[in-house]
């Protein structure tokens, strides 16, 4: 990053700030100030309609942790995150290995796997809302004869939603894995082959270790995304059946805007989620780094 500046220093710095001003304005006005405000809200009595009613800390956090769906939603979100992350990483890597060689057929396959990623998450959820419905689904005969519905029981709803997410995101993770795979120099594989390593050995001893930076990035991305899941459950299950599929973000939304209308408590849950996320990501990065050494 240290390159000699040809222009006089002071003027250069001034110009730099000038070009960076729009970025700075957006970051301060729409990121830093809201971040400060959410902390303030979490410490204040703040109903949706009347606004700030003064400090009441730590009542909001107390109410948040003791909310009747708080523990359930945390457990469910973690369960969903583990399921989605494992499936997406394994399938992403599997698809990448499958279409790694470049050929016309493989390019076609890549495009097909990637196409659902162009669809918005809300659109994809709406698509599967119809696809899973007991009335309009093309799989209706199957549901009738086996006597189940895709969103009828807690487990079915979880797996059906996970299928939607895998369908929507597998291609995206495939691309990230492909980038990682292509970053591994070809002569490493040559060397493994000439040493008589089987395909399986090459995969476990060469490919996976060299793929670690990519695996770290995809894990962090996938865990973060899944912990913050909202649209898929909001549209597909509305938290049902029997409130079994409420995620943490859904809880924030419903506390803030549906019924309870308490922005203070919602802000408190948001702050808890933010802290949890920072800690989880720091732990993940540390785990990947320490394995490396």
């Amino acid at each position: 990053m240290t390159v000699k500046a040809p222009r006089p220093r002071g003027r250069n710095a001034l110009l730099g700030w000038l070009y960076a001003t729009p970025t700075a304005v957006f970051v301060v006005a729409l990121f830093l100030i809201p971040l400060g405000l959410v902390v303030k809200m979490s410490l204040s009595k703040w109903p949706l309609l009347t606004g700030d009613q003064g400090v009441n800390a730590p009542e909001n956090f107390d109410k948040a942790v003791n909310h009747r769906f708080f523990t359930d939603s945390v457990i469910f979100t973690v369960k969903y995150t583990v399921l989605a992350t494992v499936l997406l990483l394994v399938l992403g890597l599997g698809l990448a290995l499958l279409v790694q060689e470049s050929s016309r057929w493989n390019n076609l396959l890549r495009a097909s796997f990637l196409i659902p990623s162009a669809l918005g998450l809300a659109s994809a959820s709406l698509l599967f809302y119809v696809f899973y419905s007991p009335y309009a689904s093309p799989l209706k005969p199957l549901m009738d004869s086996w006597g189940f519905t895709f969103l009828g029981s807690p487990n079915a709803a979880l797996f059906s939603t996970t299928f939607l997410i895998v369908w929507r995101y597998a291609g995206f993770y495939m691309v990230l894995m492909l980038v990682g795979l292509q970053g591994i120099p070809a002569d490493v594989f040559e060397a493994a082959r000439s040493d008589g390593a089987t395909r399986w050995q090459t995969f476990w001893r060469v490919t996976l270790p060299l793929l670690r930076p990519t695996l770290a990035l995809t894990t962090v991305l996938c865990v973060t995304g899944s912990l913050l899941a909202f649209e898929q459950f909001y549209i597909l299950t509305k938290g049902g059946p029997d409130n079994s599929t409420i995620t943490v973000v859904q809880l924030i939304y419903s506390v803030a805007f549906q019924g309870q209308n308490d922005l203070g408590v919602a802000a408190a849950i948001s702050v808890i989620v933010l802290i949890a996320l920072v800690v989880i990501n720091a732990l993940q990065l540390r785990a990947f780094r320490s394995e490396e050494s």
Partner: protein, 301 residues
């Protein structure tokens, strides 16, 4: 994320010649074809799983189904329902287009200047500002939208599409600033230095010399900003509460269960098709940029 940047940068160039060699040698022999058959069947079936829901929705939106506006014969009945729903699909399309285009324009301008500043200048607070911009990625959507709802109300942008576009632009900044910074850094410094020596101002050099050089980066940033804004659901859900001002994803989602709790699945399918169409067209037109955006950017830094 320290991926070996030497090898990722060569990816795009290596790919094309390698592919030709592979297909040609395989196409030659009969035994080669027979051996590859199970592979083709397996991968073909896999591809079908990914394509089938999309194709099915497109077909089903035109097909007859009880409980929809298209009960007998094929036709546009479901799309008629969509046209007449509340403020009408045209209104929602216009709202979505407005938000998406404004967000794209703002993202392009801000990240173009920001990327230039971060790549070519040294100024106090530079690293802090860059890290802060990236930190937006670490903060959950919901955590920011709750205070943003309060703040936008305060400055008179409640229930406003401009407000939604501003918020979505902010969420685009980490990716777009990062990508534009590495796009500018990939351009040889001699290029704009020569221009300044020839008497161009820094803005003149940026506009005439650097803009053409970073165009691929701008296309990727613009494409992503447009798709993200077009598809976004959470921000308008929280920030918009007037049916006149809803964006299309919100309107289609609300479309379900309008008539006495009975869901009009046909109209929902039609809505999904209208939502998906621009995404598919953009994706197919710009697929190369889409993948190259990851290739050049995603793992470096």
């Amino acid at each position: 994320m320290a991926v070996d940047s030497r090898s990722t940068s060569t990816v795009a160039t290596e790919e094309a010649p390698a592919s030709k060699g592979v297909t040609r040698s395989r196409g030659m022999s009969f035994y080669g074809v027979a051996l590859r058959m199970p592979y083709w069947v397996f991968t073909g079936a896999l591809a079908l799983i990914f394509l089938a829901p999309l194709l099915w929705t497109a077909v089903a939106s035109f097909s007859p189904h009880a409980g929809t506006n298209q009960t007998d014969g094929w036709g546009f009945g479901n799309y008629e329902t969509l046209t007449n729903y509340q403020a009408g699909v045209w209104r929602y399309l216009a709202n979505s287009a407005f938000v998406s285009l404004l967000c794209t324009a703002l993202t392009l301008v801000i990240s173009f200047f920001g990327g230039y500043a971060f790549a070519r200048f040294r100024f106090p607070g530079k690293n802090a500002l860059f890290l802060l911009t990236l930190a937006i990625l670490m903060v959950p959507y919901a955590t920011l939208l709750i205070p943003l709802y309060v703040l936008l109300n305060e400055v008179g942008l409640e229930n406003s599409l401009v407000g939604v576009a501003l918020v979505l632009t902010m969420f685009q900044l980490p990716f777009s600033t990062f990508l534009m910074r590495i796009s500018f850094e990939a351009v040889p410094r001699e290029l704009d230095e020569a221009a300044t020596v020839d008497g161009c101002s820094s803005f003149g050099a940026l506009w005439r010399v650097l803009l053409p050089a970073v165009k691929p980066g701008l296309v990727t940033v613009g494409l992503f900003a447009f798709l993200a804004a077009w598809n976004d659901f959470f921000a308008p859900l929280i920030l918009i509460n007037d049916t006149e001002k809803m964006t299309l994803p919100l309107a289609v989602s609300n479309l379900r269960g309008q008539v006495q709790g009975v869901v009009d699945y046909g109209a929902t399918e039609a809505g999904v098709v209208v939502l998906a169409l621009p995404c598919m067209v953009l994706f197919l037109l710009l697929q190369r940029h889409y993948v190259r955006g990851f290739m050049s950017g995603a793992l470096k830094g």
